[in-house]
Symmetry: C2
Subunit: 220 residues, 2 copies
DNA sequence: ACGTTATGTTTACAACGTCAATATGTCCAG
DNA sequence: CTGGACATATTGACGTTGTAAACATAACGT
């Protein structure tokens, strides 16, 4: 009889689903011990296979990292979507998305750094990563460009009523992304110290509002 | 007779000024071959000393990297100052500073990543680095404060031209920093692709203006 | 049943960060 | 001028890493 261990992926070869489990191991190590401790060998060790087994599933260490980073982008996109869902007002939705972005960055520092750092030398060499990153940005951009959610309504695109013209929406999305990404990066790097911000305890939405008021489409 | 090789530092020991030259070597390797190729041993090799010689001047690899990063922050601060100097109008000065920031990031990608990435595990452990980073931010923040009391009116200025209320200046500086830092980061990571931006060839000031439109310091 | 192919292991190597022991140059006290 | 004392650099070594090559083993189609 066929082995019944497989759960989602069709029952597998020797291990079960080494590729996926290696990614999980890498994520765990990254979160618990940091980037410096994340090695191909450590991931293999934690998974219980030989040190070169990963090479059957990843051409490179970079390929493993890219898979982890791609997962991070998917999680980020999901978090933004979940955060934006309950918000009805467009501006409110932007704050919710920014808040989700900030929260993700602050609570998954290592993964966030992997997603945007240089540990993965040439990101364009990993299509899955690229696709996941694009999709995450799409969540943000959609709020700016086509954010009316398909409902026939009077107020149109979410940014329009804040003085951003339709044609400017794509650029506005980039500006918003830049702002929130920069804020997140500077916060987790501890660069922002002058303004008594306790990133751990402060409400993230409050932070987004506090600094976002200088963006003319994010004011509530 | 005393060796006459020394130039700025008082004539030195065996090498001359190993510490400074190791930093220069590290910078060179970083710029020419990237972070992956920058090792303590490589820096020592390029300097022409044994592989453990650096340990007389740096406790760690991280200490060397911190010194390089600190140099980066000083260069960035200098570039911002130089860019801002010729601008008379406050808003114009902000654009100049943003432009200098972007230019630095795009032309010194590796150093920029070192300055804000995770290669240096605990940045707070390196006072020189911390000081240099603070100083760089001060250049930016001072402009935001100085922007107050600009002349009234104004129409086409992409950033604030009527200043920020005194009490809001620190937060405004953080917002501006976040924006420009995020834009720089996303650009050099190649994350911004949708808006046909050729970061290499496009005028940086134009980029800052294009996206900086959405910053509004007059409000709040 | 059998061979092809996908998967995993063993062994090996060069490069790295770092430590301990040692050597060498510099400088000050006499 | 001389002899330590001390700062500076080297040699050699150890454990870890990424990765290649050779080998082993299990699954699957025929």
């Amino acid at each position: 009889m066929s082995t019944s261990k497989g759960e989602k992926t069709p029952r597998r070869y020797h291990h079960g689903d080494l590729r996926a489990e290696l990614i999980r191991s890498a994520q765990t190590i990254l979160e618990r011990e940091g980037m410096a401790k994340l090695s191909l060998r450590a991931a293999a060790r934690r998974t219980g296979v030989s040190q070169t087994a990963p090479y059957r599933h990843f051409t490179d260490k970079a390929a493993l990292l890219a898979a982890v980073a791609a997962g991070g982008f998917r999680d980020l996109a999901a978090a933004m979507r979940a955060g934006a869902a309950p918000a009805s007002d467009p501006a409110e939705r932007m704050v919710a998305i920014g808040s989700a972005y900030l929260t993700f960055a602050l609570e998954h520092v290592a993964v966030f750094h992997l997603m945007f750092g240089t540990e993965i030398a040439d990101k364009s060499a990993h299509p899955e990563l690229r696709r996941a990153a694009d999709e995450a940005f799409a969540v943000l951009a959609n709020q700016a460009v086509a954010g009316n959610g398909g409902r026939p309504g009077g107020d149109g695109a979410p940014l329009a009523d804040d003085g951003v013209r339709e044609a400017d929406a794509p650029d506005a999305a980039i500006a918003a992304w830049s702002f929130i990404h920069g804020l997140a990066t500077l916060l987790i790097d501890g660069q922002i110290r002058s303004a008594r911000i306790d990133a751990e305890s402060t409400d993230r939405a409050a932070l987004v509002r506090r600094f976002g008021r200088f963006l003319n489409f994010a004011r509530a």
